[in-house]
């Protein structure tokens, strides 16, 4: 059984979606967090045993603990291959899958925040600039037909669609038709709708 440590309308909401796509029984353990706008309350200190920085999401799968969205997505998709949420290890799309998962966690996670503060410089931050990242993102999403790796929806699609939803909501990304169409397609999935209903726990 998977336990998800979750706070409604937070980064862990995309893991509710992922678990709905997975179709295995899971339980939600609600955790207080401080939200990006400063509301909410901190998790108790004991929660650090589950997440070192008292954030969400984190999961516990029969005693195996995983945190970081991309880590959880990679873990779950490989652990339950019958759900078909990742290219298999011998699939020629596996390399792109691994790359896009790590790109999501690294540059795509950090650069929009750095860009807000005006420090997404090419050097020495190493992330590269917002414009370069955004050009890559546009090319990647434009190639989705209908999903990132073709006809099979994947764990990476959950992450990218959730990031597009979030970034466009807060004007951290331009609302280009390519982003809007892909996100809308993903948001129409039954699992995405079920996840919205379960988001409050």
């Amino acid at each position: 059984m998977i336990t998800l440590h979750h706070a409604p309308r937070s980064r862990s909401s995309m893991i509710v979606w992922l678990l709905e796509e997975l179709g295995k029984p899971y339980r939600i353990e609600l955790t207080p967090i401080i939200y990006g706008n400063g509301t909410g309350s901190p998790a108790p200190e004991a929660y650090r045993a589950i997440h070192p920085h008292k954030k969400v999401p984190a999961i516990d799968h029969d005693g195996v603990k995983v945190f970081e969205c991309a880590g959880i997505a990679a873990y779950v998709a490989d652990r339950f291959p019958q759900a078909n949420l990742a290219p298999k290890p011998d699939d020629p799309k596996r390399g792109l899958y691994a790359s896009l998962m790590a790109y999501w966690a690294g540059p795509l996670n950090a650069i929009p925040t750095a860009h807000m503060g005006g420090w997404d410089k090419d050097k020495p931050t190493g992330f590269g600039t917002f414009d370069e990242m955004e050009a890559f993102l546009e090319k990647t999403i434009a190639a989705a037909d209908p999903w990132l790796f073709g006809k099979d929806f994947s764990a990476a699609d959950v992450l990218y669609a959730a990031a597009l939803n979030f970034y466009m909501m807060f004007d951290l990304l331009p609302k280009k038709p390519v982003y809007v169409d892909y996100a809308a397609r993903a948001n129409e999935r039954p699992a995405a709708k079920r996840a919205q209903e379960r988001d409050n726990g």
Binding site: Y35, F67, E68, A74, R94, A102, P124, G128
Partner: protein, 196 residues
């Protein structure tokens, strides 16, 4: 056969270390025009590292992805827990944490930018290092007794920062760096790293 797109003494150097640890067949393609675009380099932003798996033609970039891809492809070396092993969860968490928390934390510090917590997906260096040091106190490696590709990423990063004021002082980290840098595969890798 793996081709590593490499530039001496950069983030790609430690992938020579990893490939040596794995005993994997590989060749180094030293790119020209770094930083800048080398048309032979398949990395989408012209950076290093990137690898191409010549068995399939697949290109992989981003350090955590390359590490995961390589340990999954060469499991016999035993330096990456495979799917179903209990430490797979911790392994994935540490690999992703490297790219999503540790690097941005050091970048923030290096560029004197306060971490806009809680909006940011990362934390400041002190909080991140407290987590790392906590794990290594049980050690000797991030996953406990067993060395893994995660230690290639973390150990070489801490070795590079050395006694820099960016790094919180810690005997635990000093000992960890010693363990990682004493590995014979690193010496072999350094001999192949090349000069700028």
């Amino acid at each position: 056969m793996i081709t590593l797109f490499h530039y001496p003494q950069t983030r790609s150097s430690r992938f020579i270390f990893l490939l040596e640890e794995l005993g994997a067949p590989y060749q180094i393609h030293q790119i020209t025009n770094f930083p800048g675009k080398d048309p032979a380099n398949p990395h989408p932003h012209g950076k290093v590292p990137a690898i191409r798996d010549e068995d399939t033609g697949e290109v992989i970039y981003e350090s955590p992805a390359i590490a995961l891809y390589l340990t999954d492809k060469f499991p016999k070396a035993g330096i990456g827990p495979t799917v179903g092993e209990n430490t797979r969860g911790a392994y994935l968490s540490w690999l992703v944490y490297y790219g999503s928390v540790l690097e941005p934390a050091f970048m923030s510090k290096f560029t004197n930018q306060p971490v806009p917590r809680p909006q940011a997906g990362w934390v400041d260096v002190e909080e991140a290092m407290a987590h790392v040091i906590g794990a290594l106190s049980k050690g000797p490696y991030l996953l406990g007794e067993k060395f893994s590709a995660a230690d290639v990423l973390y150990g070489t990063t801490f070795a590079m920062f050395g006694k820099s004021p960016m790094m919180p002082k810690s005997d635990v980290i000093d000992l960890y760096v010693k363990h990682v840098t004493e590995r014979p595969a690193l010496a072999r890798a350094q001999a192949k790293d090349g000069a700028r």
